[in-house]
């Protein structure tokens, strides 16, 4: 059976095509201002990559913030459930998923069968999300992708006390003007995200093995902080960014199966 999962996040749109439980194609692009258009493009790209035609697909499930904007999907399922399903394929032993995306972060705890046992999401505040890192990177005038590299060179961690993104930004600016090293500030930013996640994890009784998904999983700096705080390995599956889309495609197959 061939199915697709389309995950329309606030920053990136992701897709996956599965054939009998095997991944045929995945893709990631930016969502931009038009989630509907992004969904269509993701779908087209996937079909091309997999060398398939629309009619070859038996079911499509959409997920993510824009899940209701995907007209061609048979149904929509939240990213919480999809991440759990994705992890069952990509990291079958995982007990806890830390997912940090563009505008929210979640901690999902799985039961022994891989189903969602409990979850928690950040509140309306952007602290502890990808957006927080974007704002900080631009305040520090460095590329988002090089944050991890910088923090690896830190010789100290500067404390960032504000939990609010806007306040933290001005705090960072004043730290720069005080002459703090960028590396150390970035280490502090990663530590701040780590603290937010750890307190969320505490609420839902997160336990190892941990995996991390979502765009921020690509930042080794954040992953390292989480490993220290959890005192446990945090695995980033190779296809971490498309975990939700893979889960959606799996759920699509399940309904039919």
């Amino acid at each position: 059976m061939i199915t697709a999962g389309i995950d329309i996040g606030s920053t990136t749109a992701k897709g996956a095509i599965l054939k009998d439980g095997h991944i045929e194609a995945v893709t990631v692009m930016s969502t931009g201002y038009d989630p509907k258009g992004a969904a269509e493009t993701v779908f087209q790209t996937l079909l091309e990559k997999a060398g398939l035609d629309r009619k070859d697909l038996e079911a499509v499930v959409s997920t993510g913030y824009g899940r209701k904007n995907v007209g061609f999907a048979g149904r929509s399922v939240t990213e919480i459930t999809c991440h759990a399903a994705g992890a069952r394929l990509l990291s079958p032993t995982a007990a806890t998923i830390v997912d940090i995306g563009g505008q929210d972060s979640k901690v999902i705890v799985l039961d022994s069968t891989g189903k969602v046992a409990d979850f928690t999401m950040n509140d309306k505040c952007a602290a502890g999300t990808g957006r927080f890192l974007e704002v900080m990177a631009s305040a520090l005038q460095i590329d988002l992708a090089s944050l991890a590299e910088f923090s690896a060179r830190a010789d100290a961690t500067v404390a960032i006390s504000s939990v609010c993104t806007v306040f933290a930004e001005s705090e960072v600016i004043s730290l720069i003007s005080k002459g703090e090293k960028r590396e150390n500030i970035i280490a502090g930013i990663h530590a701040a995200i780590g603290s937010r996640i750890v307190s969320m994890a505490g609420r839902v009784k997160a336990r190892p093995p941990y995996i991390m998904t979502g765009g921020v999983a690509l930042n080794r700096g954040v992953v390292r902080v989480l490993e220290e705080r959890f005192q446990s390995d945090v695995t980033v599956p190779e296809l971490a960014q498309v975990n939700g889309a893979v889960g959606a495609a799996l759920i699509a197959a399940d309904r039919n199966g």
Binding site: Y65, V77, T78, E79, I80, T81, D104, K115, V116, A117, D118, F119, T120, M121, D123, K124, R203
Partner: protein, 403 residues
């Protein structure tokens, strides 16, 4: 399947009529009614006011009306402009602003002759009523009810009973006549009757399917808050109870089929009631009980009909919001069992600190004791700026997928 018309609760109409009459009388010039007006906090002892023929006005009830009419945010902004913090309870902000600009659906509340503030619900009301006392330049009576975490101390009882005496003296002074104890007995009896009836109405949702949801209860609550102690409230709840029992006989419910039975914690999100009800309803989930509406009959066991005035001390001190986390958690655990609920939804309400502060612990305790899935939603009862629809929607959908 019941038709949309059958699903409607007929008593709604009567409630609207009574509340309209109530506000019309309150807004009629005092020279015509000859009655004084007292503004009182939602958890305050209203019965002595009825005994003295004083019209009680509830700024919080009006706050709910403003919220449901989506007029609160503007009032909150006005209050912020006046210098009040956006972290202040949105009922307080809305009321203070509405007093200044005559805002809200009925163009502001009638001016008070006195203010009655009981801090059994929160500390906010103290400062709020002090502001009102200065603004209107009217006397303020404060009933101070110490928090009772689990039990009820003798010292507390002596302390609060003493204040009830002061309350009576305050009313005598402001009204310029002596207190009518016989009338007080009648009012007390009617209050107990209404509370018992309200509890019975809330108990009807034990039935599967439930004849109403908590969104209905939030609406029908208006009368037990404002008019308990009157024959009107007793008659109304008799009518409502009869209708609920009739719905049970006919198998009429709001959510059809009722797949999930949920419990709501905290105040409603007034400006999104319909949205929540539709959202959960679409998943065939109905709220069969809540911790809020039962707050107005939860202390019945402490009331003594033969000594209503005296026993008010204990019953007003031991209300839900004036107890500790263990007690609050225990209350929800019992509700889960009583109503055979499949899940609990906690509204973490930005406005109401005493209600929201311990919710994470309560959630944990309820989860551990009952194994029931719990969901936390962040919002505010009146300030729409504190609500993010997409975020809440995702949480609700994921919660239902989890059930």
């Amino acid at each position: 399947m019941a038709t949309p018309d059958e699903k409607k609760i007929k008593a709604d109409k009567r409630l609207r009529e009574i509340m309209t009459e109530y506000y019309i009388e309150a807004k009629t010039p005092k020279e015509q009614t000859g009655k004084k007006i007292a503004w009182i906090t939602s958890g305050g002892p209203v019965e002595p006011l009825h005994a003295m023929d004083v019209i009680p006005i509830y700024p919080e009830n009006y706050g709910a009306m403003c919220g449901a009419a989506k007029m609160s945010t503007e009032l909150c902004e006005k209050a912020e402009e006046m210098g009040y913090s956006s972290d202040l309870c949105s009922y307080a902000r809305g009321d203070i602003a509405s007093a200044a600009v005559n805002g809200g659906p009925i163009g502001g509340l009638p001016e008070p002759d006195m203010l009655i503030c009981c801090n059994n619900i929160c500390g906010t009301v103290l400062k709020w009523y002090q502001v009102l006392a200065r603004y209107f330049d009217v006397p303020l009576f404060v009933l101070d009810t110490p928090v009772c975490h689990t039990g009820y101390e003798k010292e507390t009882d002596i302390y609060v009973r003493h204040q009830i005496g002061e309350y009576v003296a305050f009313l005598e002074a402001v009204c310029g006549r002596s207190f009518d104890y016989d009338r007080m007995d009648e009012v007390g009896t009617l209050s107990v009757k209404a509370q018992k009836l309200w509890q019975k109405v809330l108990d009807t949702t034990v039935n599967k399917p439930a004849p109403m949801t908590c969104f209905d209860a939030f609406f029908h609550l208006a009368m037990i808050v404002t008019l308990r102690g009157t024959q009107t409230a007793v008659d109304y709840y008799e009518l409502l109870l009869e209708e609920m029992n009739d719905r049970i006989c006919k198998g009429i419910s709001k959510v059809e089929p009722e797949r999930y039975r949920l419990i709501w914690d905290n105040l409603p999100v007034w400006y999104k009631m319909r949205w929540f009800s539709d959202k959960f309803g679409a998943h065939n989930a109905g709220f069969v009980a809540d911790t809020y509406t039962s707050g107005w009959c939860g202390t019945l066991p402490y009331l003594d009909e033969n000594d209503f005035l005296g026993s008010m001390a204990e019953s007003y001190t031991r209300i839900f919001l004036n107890t500790g986390i263990d007690h609050m958690a225990d209350n929800i655990v019992k509700m889960v069992e009583k109503y055979d609920a499949d899940g609990v939804v906690f509204h973490s309400n930005r406005s109401c600190k005493p209600y929201s502060f311990g919710q994470y612990d309560i959630q944990r305790i309820v989860g551990e004791k009952t194994g029931t899935p719990c969901l936390m939603i962040e919002a505010d009862m009146c300030d729409e700026r504190k609500f993010s629809e997409t975020q809440v929607e995702t949480r609700i959908d994921a919660f239902i997928e989890m059930l």
